[in-house]
């Protein structure tokens, strides 16, 4: 019963990815796309943690930690590129 509710929330978040991807496709400026990808990476972290609870494999939780770090570093790098027009 609880596992079914976890599955329902994971599917619902997957539907919300598509709506966020519409903003990443449509967005007028580059900053809108960065905001959209940041939101998607937060949601993907939650979905991976839910999948770790659904399937019972505990090693997926490490994947969620690494994905959260990767989303943060991506946002920082793209914001720096937008601001200064170069990365290094």
């Amino acid at each position: 019963m609880i596992l079914n509710s976890f599955t329902i929330l994971a599917i619902y978040l997957s539907i919300l990815f598509i709506l966020c991807l519409y903003r990443a496709y449509k967005g007028p400026s580059a900053a809108d796309r960065v905001v959209s990808i940041n939101v998607i990476s937060t949601k993907v972290t939650i979905v991976i943690a839910l999948i770790a609870a659904i399937t019972g494999q505990d090693s997926f939780m490490d994947v969620a930690i690494i994905y959260a770090m990767m989303g943060f570093i991506t946002t920082i790098a793209v914001s720096k590129y937008i601001e200064k027009k170069k990365l290094f």
């Binding site: 976890f6 809108d32 905001v35 939780m61 490490d62």
Partner: protein, 99 residues
């Protein structure tokens, strides 16, 4: 039995706040208002979903990893929004736009 009800309530609240963030991302007119809408509601939704997973697992090593993910999301999401807002503001100021 009480545990199940608490988990259902947390999951439904999490889905509600995630959908509020997505509606704000789609409907708001400006980049800064989109950041404002998504950052807060996504932080709260992630916290509620991870809290539901913590209650489901009980005391375990996995709960420590979930607490780590929760604290990490709570620190990094406002920081990332601040950096994005600063980059967008400086870019718009350099280009001479007011928006």
């Amino acid at each position: 039995m009480l545990k199940e009800y608490v988990i259902f309530f947390l999951l439904i609240s999490s889905g509600f706040f995630f959908s509020v963030g997505t509606v704000g991302l789609l409907r708001m007119p400006d980049t800064f208002t989109r950041m404002h809408a998504t950052t807060k509601s996504d932080t709260l939704g992630a916290g509620l979903a991870l809290l539901a997973l913590m209650i489901y697992r009980g005391l375990d090593v996995i709960t420590l990893k979930l607490i780590f993910i929760l604290v990490f999301v709570w620190i990094t999401t406002p920081t990332a929004a601040h950096i994005m807002a600063k980059a967008t503001y400086n870019q718009n100021r350099d280009e001479g736009e007011t928006k």
